[in-house]
Symmetry: C2
Subunit: 164 residues, 2 copies
DNA sequence: GTTGACATGTAACAAGTTACATGATTGA
DNA sequence: TCAATCATGTAACTTGTTACATGTCAAC
């Protein structure tokens, strides 16, 4: 289960409430993993039961801030280094790109243009994020990878549009 | 449910048995969607019930070859053009790249090197596939996108290794 | 006082994985 | 005849989604 390890990883970067984790999945982890709050709260409960995270603070609105424990860090490291990665992917946008080739040119154009607009918007947001970051922060490398991947996608989508 | 549309799309390219679809998910759809045979057979049954696919041949070993129907083509087109894409992604490899930044340099090196080896292998296979393809086939564009994305990933992983 | 963001949870259902189960055909 | 591959299916379980449910706090 990658969700549990994703949660451990986010907490290793900084302690958070379940609510904050939900937003962090949508921000920093957007292109890697996705989870709703209805999955995150039970996951936190299980990780706490297993001694891999702990509540380190209780704040306003009954919020609970979790942090990773040493056992959690150990498990995260074990998973990253020793466990064979699951290489399977699920990416509906990529599926649509693939299936879009079946459409008539005008329909394909509609579908690809919508995609292009989305990726360009994501790209602008990622650029803004990069500009707000210290270049030596480890996270900057991730943002950089995202920007390069976007570049490839944008170019490809534009070429496809031209060929229509 | 994207699986049903992925199946429709593959059948629209060419009729297949459930067994062949399972392999085609692992080959042409590897970077977009993943499905096991235990999911594909029930999906085909449901699509047949809904009149979107039909059995067009029965061969050796009790095999059933399915093809997409007009209703299926219509549904696929409707889904591609009218339905709002689900942009959420699940990509364990990307998650590991992200979490890998938490590791000590030597461990990170191990993890990233394993990834680099995998992506390079994929890249060789994709190159071979491209070389066996007519350049004007629609599928060639998809392969080209895959090759460009691989290039970005390989470069990034090598840079990360150098900086260690 | 009421709207909106913060905050946490559960229940019912759908999708996906792993393991089980069976049998046909081909080639060595 | 034995192993490998082709071929289809189901059952038990886990993961993920959608909808429901509740309450806090700050700003207007």
């Amino acid at each position: 289960m990658s969700l549990r390890h994703a949660v451990l990883g986010l907490l290793a970067r900084s302690p958070s409430t379940g609510y904050e984790l939900t937003r962090r999945f949508d921000l920093s982890l957007r292109t890697a993993w996705h989870a709703q709050h209805s999955q995150i709260y039970p996951a936190l409960a299980k990780l706490e039961e297993a001694g891999m995270v702990e509540v380190v603070a209780r704040g306003a609105r009954n919020s609970k801030t979790y942090d990773i424990t040493d056992a959690g860090r150990e498990e995260l490291e074990r998973w990253l280094v020793l466990e064979e990665p699951d290489r399977s992917q699920r990416n509906e946008s990529a599926l649509r790109l693939f299936l879009g080739q079946l459409l008539a040119p005008d329909e394909r154009r509609t579908v690809f243009d919508r995609d292009l607009a989305y990726v360009e918007q994501q790209d602008r947001e990622l650029r803004a994020l990069r500009d707000a970051l210290e270049p030596d922060e480890p996270f900057a490398a991730q943002v950089d990878l995202g920007l390069r991947t976007n570049r490839v996608l944008i170019d490809w989508l534009r070429e496809q549009a031209e060929r229509t």
